[in-house]
Amino acid sequence: MEKQIKNIFIEGAITPDFIAKSICAHQSKTGIGAHQIFLGQVRADLIQDKAVKAIEYTAHTEMALSAMHEIREAIFSQHKLTCMHVYHSLGKVAAGEICLFVFVSAPHRNAATKACAELVERIKFELPIWGKEIFEDNTHQWKINN
């Protein structure tokens, strides 16, 4: 159970190298049997013939971090987990790049799998973060989560 408010925001895209380093940092925790990782990647959606070239993220960071803290505590109390890490981009993330990295580790896979799915769902609907979808011609629309 982690009590300190942790930062989750990263400026720009989350790199595969950053993800590899996170995975590597868990190899000394030999009680872990299962890691479940969710990665959100920016899609080049075609909307009225224009492709999304990037999403620019902004957030109410203070409220987001405190909401994330509560979600983290709730999920730790519901599942037998070893650890939990969440990273979300701020600023521009190009199509094909990663904007969300959710990483849950547990002794057994069921806990990791369920906790990861719950986390992703709650992150999308409970954190005050907004995505602005920027098209090739620099027009934009505001992203809507379904």
Binding site: G40, Y57, T58, A59, H60, E62, M63, A64, S66, H88, C99, L100, V120, I123, K124, F125, E126, L127, P128, I129, W130, G131, K132, W142, K143, I144, N145
Partner: protein
């Protein structure tokens, strides 16, 4: 003779599409009694707000009910979240 008025104010933080409707990330208004009154003031100033959906936080706490406001309170208008 110089009169110095200290007008009591509140800050309003805007996010996502609301930054375009209100032309900025932060605006100020004179202190009003409560969040309902504030919304009326804002909707008069920015008519497009009438068609917007958003939640309200006062000093970073979500408030679903009408909430009394005090000097220097910060009100955040939060349109539907779209992270991830």
């Amino acid at each position: 003779m110089l009169l110095i008025y200290s007008i009591m104010k509140i800050k309003i933080q805007l996010f996502g599409p609301l930054t375009e409707i209100c032309n900025g990330h932060q605006i100020e208004t004179e202190l009003v009694a409560d969040t309902h009154t504030l919304l009326e003031v804002l909707k008069k100033r920015y008519p497009a707000l009438k068609k917007s959906v958003f939640a309200i936080a006062v000093n970073n706490q979500l408030r679903k009910e009408n909430t009394l406001l005090q000097e220097d309170d910060t009100v955040s208008l939060l349109p539907p979240f779209s992270g991830g």
